[in-house]
Subunit: 229 residues, 2 copies
DNA sequence: GTCTATAACCGGATAGAC
DNA sequence: GTCTATCCGGTTATAGAC
């Protein structure tokens, strides 16, 4: 079952809802054009023909605007991913498509996303994907990978099954980080990396079944267990 | 040969040298106590009994103070690591000690380091360890791992030898990031992670020699080659 | 070249009146 | 819910002293 995201904040009137939306859309357009840092809250407010205070009434900080964007795309990502699962049972392809969809979504916003990923680097930050506040959204994101594996051709048993979705989510974060700073044209390096590294990962997963590698497998699982929060 | 770090900026007089040092030490003390964000440039200047302008004369930005810290510890790290190499030839132990030394160094500053690692997340930032500006310091850091492997009991040939030092440096960054946000007492989780993951990494390196895994090894090397800047 | 002193700018954030 | 005024801190500018 989907952990449906609470998009509608507790806003009293529909008008407020609409105002919030207006600020959000305006800000996003401006970020897209000039980047996160170049756009000031004063600019955003002016562009919305309202006072700075009004903008801050809806978004506690400038960074919250980005967080909201992250939240919105999360839902789209979920929907798009589901569709892919109907098309193929191949685990590797599913995972690859899921991550490619995410990247695709982000393309128009690539320039402003380093701001988001600077937040990501600090787990103490309320908006970090690792924070308590982001728990729900993180869980839905991990869920996509769980679903990708569940109906797939990849048969995995026991503990590996438990860890893999989270590990793939982590992997996705790494890929996106790489993509944001990938300066090759069309960020094609990222796609090379994605394709190759996925192949390797699946080779490793398959290898992990060999009896000769039992020790290695056990060690990895032990590590994951011990390190878990 | 060591890439000796240029610690002495182009400061004309010894007095200037000393003043710069005073600002740096004061700032670091204050950061240690209250964290990076709580301490203002005005505070620092006041504490040094000088004008704000003076502080800015030596450090272009507040973040530069942290960069300087990073630079200074880098040299200590190098010196300490060299000593370890005299004690043991075991590659795994060398690497583990090198990383443990780094963590040890950072202990008093753990609280302020998330500020540093938020910078790290944005490779476009001039102070990021991945930036052009940090190139020299990064290269010395990678060099430590090169030396750790070179005189060790781990015999590696060809391309793997080229990549491994950089990969270990990357690994060290990951471990430190984990450590900064490790809330277990005495950050013992980090040491568990370090010990276990190193064991696994060396198991993998040893495995990679098996003829049956030739394909995997080739794929990994191909990926590293293609993804390289 | 090394600093002091002081004021000002800029932009994120907040308080409190309406 | 929205506005105006204000704070706060990083940063810069100015002008001058040694």
């Amino acid at each position: 079952m989907t952990v449906s995201l609470e998009k509608t904040k507790n806003l009293k009137t529909p008008k407020a809802q609409e105002t919030r939306e207006r600020i959000f859309k305006t800000a996003l357009e401006m970020f897209k054009e000039k980047g996160f840092e170049k756009v000031t809250m004063r600019d955003i407010a002016k562009n919305c023909q309202m006072a700075v205070g009004a903008a801050y009434y809806y978004f506690k900080t400038k960074e919250d605007l980005i967080f909201d964007f992250y939240l919105q795309t999360q839902d789209d990502h979920y929907q798009e991913s589901i569709k892919v699962f109907a098309e193929t049972k191949d685990a590797q392809e599913r995972i690859r498509k899921v991550i490619e969809i995410k990247i695709e979504q982000f393309i128009p916003y690539r320039g402003m996303l380093s701001a988001l990923f600077r937040i990501a680097g600090d787990p103490n930050h309320r908006l970090s994907p690792f924070s308590e506040e982001s728990k729900k959204i993180r869980e839905e994101a991990v869920d996509i990978f769980r679903l990708a594996l569940e109906g797939s051709n990849l048969k995995i048993k026991g503990e590996v099954r438990t860890f893999l979705p989270y590990l793939f989510w982590l992997y996705q974060m790494g890929i996106i980080l790489f993509w944001i700073h990938d300066r090759s044209e069309g960020q094609k390096q990222t796609h090379v990396l994605l394709k190759h590294s996925l192949k390797i990962i699946f080779q490793l997963i398959r290898l992990s079944r060999l009896p000769g590698l039992k020790k290695l497998r056990q060690n990895i699982l032990q590590m994951l267990n011990q390190v878990q929060k």
